[in-house]
Symmetry: C2
Subunit: 433 residues, 2 copies
């Protein structure tokens, strides 16, 4: 019989100050990268052994990219660093009085703590949607969705009941932000270019893709022009865009809207909101809804000298251009991560801290081939050129040169062949939702 044993964090105590970063997302990695001259230990905790490039999860879900192109092993990222330690574990809570975190592998002391745990799907308390809907935040979610899409196509072939067949081919995507828009566009490319070849026995006109947004326009964070163009592109590709419509309930089959309208679909993809992946142990007054820690202008959680929070989990009020907080996307997280690394070194050296000012470079979303919308600081553009900008920006942002090369080849391949090659059901049905 396997010998039972207890696990401990076992991080060597070298008598040096220790920075603990919780979460290897965009922000967390940027902290560590910029601590290269930090004279002490840097410890990263994450539940996964890899970084996930979340903006491209929808391409994994729709068979466009392979998993390994958008994830990167965290140990490999900093394997050249002598003072870097990684631990695959859950962090359960912070105990600020003792300067320790309590984790699934025991307690660990920190001198400086950076909470970079990101965000998780926010179902706004709708339990039936949480139970029956599909989130899109992790690589497992994306693979699960891919399996589901393909398996449901296979199932749709096998019934004479028109309603059942439709329920297996229809999609309701909730949330008109970039994820929803990009996913709707990618599904419509599957519908138009890929599935007709794979499923000649199915009438593709039965495949309906609904994109549902509670607000009055898509891409609420972008310009009116971008919203309008995105809607126009999606509609030209056959996506049914529903604005000012909110989902009230979903039982895994019937979607009910606030208007009383109903749709039948076995797949409701929920991309309508996020909440911070908060950690227990801090004073309740620093926690705001939805799940973000209030931080000062140095990204320190309010009332703590040595605990920072960055990225999606942090809410910084008072940045002159962003008085109500920064958008929950990669660039603020990365910029904050970089500055926090500097400020930790300033703190250690007894130097004054530098306040954070977010430099917003722009936003973008892609809809399909040759179709994207880009709002840059200095110009706005839509269509073919925007699509190139979108691809370029995403390519250079992917972690790891190899992943960039492979993603680039996958995209060139898909562009030339009109194909999305990774139509693979991996795993047994019982492992799925």
């Amino acid at each position: 019989m396997p010998k039972s044993y207890t696990t401990q964090a076992r991080i060597a105590d070298l008598g040096e100050p220790r920075v603990i970063v919780i979460g290897g997302g965009f922000g967390g990695l940027e902290v560590i990268r910029n601590l290269k001259h930090f004279n002490g230990q840097v410890v990263l905790f994450d539940r996964h052994n890899h970084h996930t490039f979340q903006p491209l999860l929808y391409q994994v879900a729709t068979s466009g990219l392979e998993t390994s192109s958008i994830v990167f092993p965290l140990r490999k990222r900093f394997s050249y660093r002598k003072n870097f330690y990684f631990r695959l574990a859950e962090v359960n809570q912070v105990i600020p009085e003792e300067k320790v975190i309590e984790t699934s592998i025991g307690k660990v002391h920190y001198d400086y703590l950076v909470i970079a745990t990101g965000a998780t799907t926010n179902f706004y308390g709708m339990q039936d949607v949480e139970k029956n809907g599909l989130p899109m935040k992790s690589i497992e979610d994306a693979i699960g969705l891919r399996n589901r899409i393909l398996r449901n196509m296979e199932r749709a072939l096998l019934t004479d009941d028109a309603e059942v067949m439709n329920s297996l081919m229809d999609y309701v995507i909730v949330g008109g932000g970039p994820t929803g828009v990009e996913l709707a566009g990618a599904l419509s490319e599957l519908k138009n270019n890929v599935f007709p070849k794979d499923y000649p026995e199915l009438e593709m006109s039965h495949m309906d893709i609904y994109l549902v947004e509670a607000g009055p326009r898509l891409l609420g964070g972008m310009s009116e022009k971008a919203s309008e163009k995105a809607k126009q592109y999606l509609e030209s590709m056959g996506v049914k865009v529903m604005l000012n419509a909110a989902v009230k309930s979903y039982d895994g089959y019937e979607v009910t809207f606030n208007t009383g309208e109903k749709l039948i679909s076995r797949m409701l993809i929920w991309a309508a909101g996020v909440k911070g992946s908060a950690i227990n142990g801090l004073k309740p007054e620093v926690m705001t809804r939805p799940g973000r820690f209030l931080v000062d202008e140095f990204n320190r959680v309010k009332g703590y000298e040595d605990i920072f929070a960055i990225g999606d989990i942090a809410l910084m009020e008072g940045d002159p251009s962003w008085p109500k907080g920064h958008p929950q996307m990669a660039p603020p997280a990365m910029q904050q991560g970089k500055l926090v690394a500097r400020n930790i070194m300033n703190l250690k050296a007894g130097k004054p801290l530098k306040p954070f000012r977010y430099s917003h470079q722009g936003s973008m979303a892609t809809v399909g081939r040759n179709k994207a919308v880009v709002d840059m600081k200095v110009f706005k553009t839509q269509g073919f050129f925007a699509w190139y900008i979108w691809m370029f920006v995403h390519l250079i942002s992917i972690t790891g040169f190899r992943n960039r090369v492979f993603t680039f080849f996958s995209w060139v391949w898909s562009y030339l062949s009109y194909d999305r090659s990774n139509r693979l059901i991996i795993g047994r049905p019982k492992d799925e939702l």
Copy 2:
């Protein structure tokens, strides 16, 4: 609530003769490919929606290749064919009297049936090994093994108990055929080139890789020279080769050998044998041990006019050079598949059938970079040149041009960087063994 419904195979009855192929492996695909002039329906049943290139599973398990490089969507393979139908389903049994197969989606009539279900792991009735050991036959097995290898390295860091740490870092690979040899070599490359960078906190000399073979030499199907060289290569890379040693029991921790010797390891990989994935319903006398159907020289299951079996599941006695049956590998399956397609057309046209003669081109196995052994019909070679032959043959055999390109780039990348990049734990621990 989701509407319940019944599924049926729903394959259009066009009044044409129907060939059903069970299994989309090397043999099954070759049957279908060569039925391109068959005037009738061709239906493929498989439990997976993709073909798996099994010879490279070990590279997925050891983080060398990504999943999608070695699997290929079955629908895509023949999507250009008008008369091709695919069904994702389990086949439960054949009812020869009715000329139907009974599947998880109902009964389906055949005019000609080709059983190409391949082989599964043979634990020779050792229930504890089956329960606690890891097989290596499917893409899920390979991903599961990769997760396990990486998770156990993370766990090894977390204990002070030397025995426990060793149990998490040690490998016992049972079976000295190509799979065992290749897996042992790949693990040793992880040990020598990759893990020291990822896990500087672990002493790699604790990582022991045992390759256990019950017979007197490795690669029993190849020449003495190849066996000897493979052993020499493996030992030079630090693998401990145990010959004439058979596993008697394994409880998930302690491996006991027939000699009474014991080893401690949490990972026992079982590559010691296969048995046919047989289907119920045929006369018991056509079933031989282990699980193969006796076929005549036309690959017809003995006593049936219209049921063929090919590849790993078939046992054809009497081929002059292979009187006791052909080796269970891709080339015989493919050659049989090609001929069976022709013979089905001959049967239909009332022409005489052509008997099968296996043309053996050679065998090969790779151990590591620049190290392989190749026995060809006309020459034998080992080392660098053999390694190139091995790579070339495997590359051109992979299904799909895109997969070939991606595999090629992955190999070039690994060769230049000494890295194996896909060190990813995908899925939650509860989903694992």
